[in-house]
């Protein structure tokens, strides 16, 4: 558990958060801004001390064997922690040396990583001239310099443009293929879905759900029939038809004229809806059978959209005690 105290309020950044990353797997820590993802990573990476609870990385206690922990982890954070005034190669060499590699080993490892991350051409340029995506790749390379057994990636694509994000995903997928053990935090549901084996959903410092992407999706329910109708005046009629075809209450978005309803009759149900709509001459712009996204999961679990900052009600956090443990 991690509690931040100020004169008037006390914010529990982490409150009894408990998780395990199996060797060779990717755990995605998913949550909105302020949920406690970064705090978790900082505690596990020995940058921050937990107020209570225990965490071990590769068998080493993060509080009492910090130096041993540091020699088996790699950390790549939200903000590229590389030196702007050094070249890419110099940055990696320096991190290698500080990882206690010999100068030769560090030089060789730097060369390998620059190659692996497509930075060879820019290797001898000062980092100041790099694009955001290149900096992130260099930062990640820095985290890998000592062949870490556990790699922390704290929001590796936050702030990158779509192209940079796809590039980063490729790099991370490559690491996963090579058998890396990874703890990834993200506020993008798509990213967790794409990269993680298991996902832990965090909100207000607590894990509120965990499982594979499919398991989480099935918590929300199965498939949905989704219709976008042409004219807003037909909304009521279409809703009645969907209510009959589905197994729950239809959800209507008047703004986009989109109606959706959970179903368990699959394609057959969809055909029925098409027929019924046609019969009463309701024109449709789009119709389909949709599997729930992690956005739906988030909405169901937390009652607010993933995009909303959880930090807004931080001031109301209550004092108290408890225990939390994290193991990796």
């Amino acid at each position: 558990m991690k509690i931040y105290r100020s004169r008037k309020t006390e914010v529990r950044a982490l409150d009894g958060l408990d998780l395990t990353v199996e060797e060779g797997t990717v755990l995605g820590l998913l949550g909105p801004n302020g949920a406690g993802k970064t705090t978790t990573v900082r505690i596990l990476a020995t940058l921050l001390r937990a107020d209570s609870g225990r965490a071990t990385v590769a068998g080493f206690d993060v509080a009492h064997q910090a130096q041993q922990v540091r020699s088996v982890i790699g950390l790549s954070g939200q903000y590229a922690a590389v030196d702007e005034n050094l070249t890419g190669r110099e940055n990696l060499w320096m991190f290698g040396r500080l990882y206690q590699l010999s100068s030769g080993e560090a030089r060789q490892r730097a060369g390998e990583l620059l190659e692996q991350f497509g930075l060879t051409d820019a290797a001898d340029r000062v980092v100041k001239t790099y694009s955001g995506g290149m900096r992130r790749r260099l930062d990640l390379a820095g985290a890998l310099i000592g062949h870490p057994r556990l790699l922390f990636l704290d929001e590796p694509t936050t702030g990158l443009d779509p192209q940079g994000r796809l590039g980063m995903w490729d790099v991370i997928r490559g690491l996963v293929r090579d058998g890396a053990t990874l703890l990834l935090t993200t506020q993008y549901l798509e990213e967790a879905d794409e990269l993680a084996d298991t996902i832990a959903v965090v909100d207000h410092g607590k894990i509120i759900a965990r499982g594979t992407a499919d398991e989480l999706k099935s918590q929300v329910g199965g498939e949905q029939i989704e219709v976008v109708i042409h004219a807003a005046t037909d909304l009521a009629g279409a809703r009645d038809i969907l209510a009959r075809a589905g197994i729950g209450k239809p959800h209507i978005d008047e703004h986009t004229r989109r109606i959706s309803v959970p179903t368990n009759s699959g394609a057959q149900g969809l055909i029925q809806v098409v027929r019924d709509l046609d019969e009463v001459h309701i024109q449709i712009s789009d119709i389909g059978l949709r599997r729930p996204t992690l956005d739906d999961v988030f909405l169901t679990l937390t009652g607010h959209d993933a995009g909303l900052a959880a930090g807004e009600d931080e001031g109301s956090a209550t004092p108290g005690s408890g225990s939390g443990g994290k193991a990796a």
Binding site: L48, A80, R97, L98, Y99, G142
Partner: protein, 278 residues
Amino acid sequence: MTARATAPRSREGRGGLRQAVGDGLIVTWRNLKRIPRIPELAIFAVLQSIMFVLLFAFVFGGAIPLPGGGNYREYLMPGIFAQTIVFAAATTAIGMSEDVHKGIIDRFRSLPMARSAVLVGRTLSDVVYNGGILIVLMLSGLVVGWTIRTGIPPLLEGVALLLLFTFAMSWIGVWLGLSVPSVEVAQQAVFIVLFPITFVSNVFVPPQTLPSWLQPIAEWNPTSTLTASLRQLWGNPNPFVSTGFPSQHPVLVTLIWVVVIVAIFAPLGIRRYRLMSR
């Protein structure tokens, strides 16, 4: 196990002190690399000192008579060297604060490196950097009429004293840089501390011209004792403010100041650094 065949075993083989020195030197290297990459920093640091030389040598100098006579420019230059060194704390504070806020410190703290290396590297590199600036300033001093009347050994002693003092000031900078919430605050805070230290001293004016209550402060001020030491060592005009101890034994008092400053600010800085994990 994902640990691959090349996982380095040498990590555990290094001794504590050896690793501390090695890691400290790597961070020093990293800090020094920045100087040629942003030459403007060093250029403006030198220009700032030269501006003070020109202002005082040609604008105010004529209005400042030295008790017992002597060339004002010759009197001024050791003060300028001392002032430059005192302002080394600013370089350190700003550099330290920048590192903290750009996240590179987080990187360092997540590596299995000596805990001391970041702070040691910062202070050592600032000693080297300011040493370079001193050389340029000394050469400019020679141009405006400063000279050394004693010889090479006193010259080297004076330079050594300046560098020791830089080291001490850097620790003040480390503590300041780690204590302030942003780089901008570091810049502001540093000057509030440094201006009185350099101006309530014998750097620009003979302390006899100060109000009597301010004279003891000016006399014991480390900037004054450093400046008086240099003037004494190099045979430059050095009008004594009094028969007080600091005026009589400036080198000794300066060395004591160095020890006191390091003894106070190094632990404070290290404590600040440790507290980052709270």
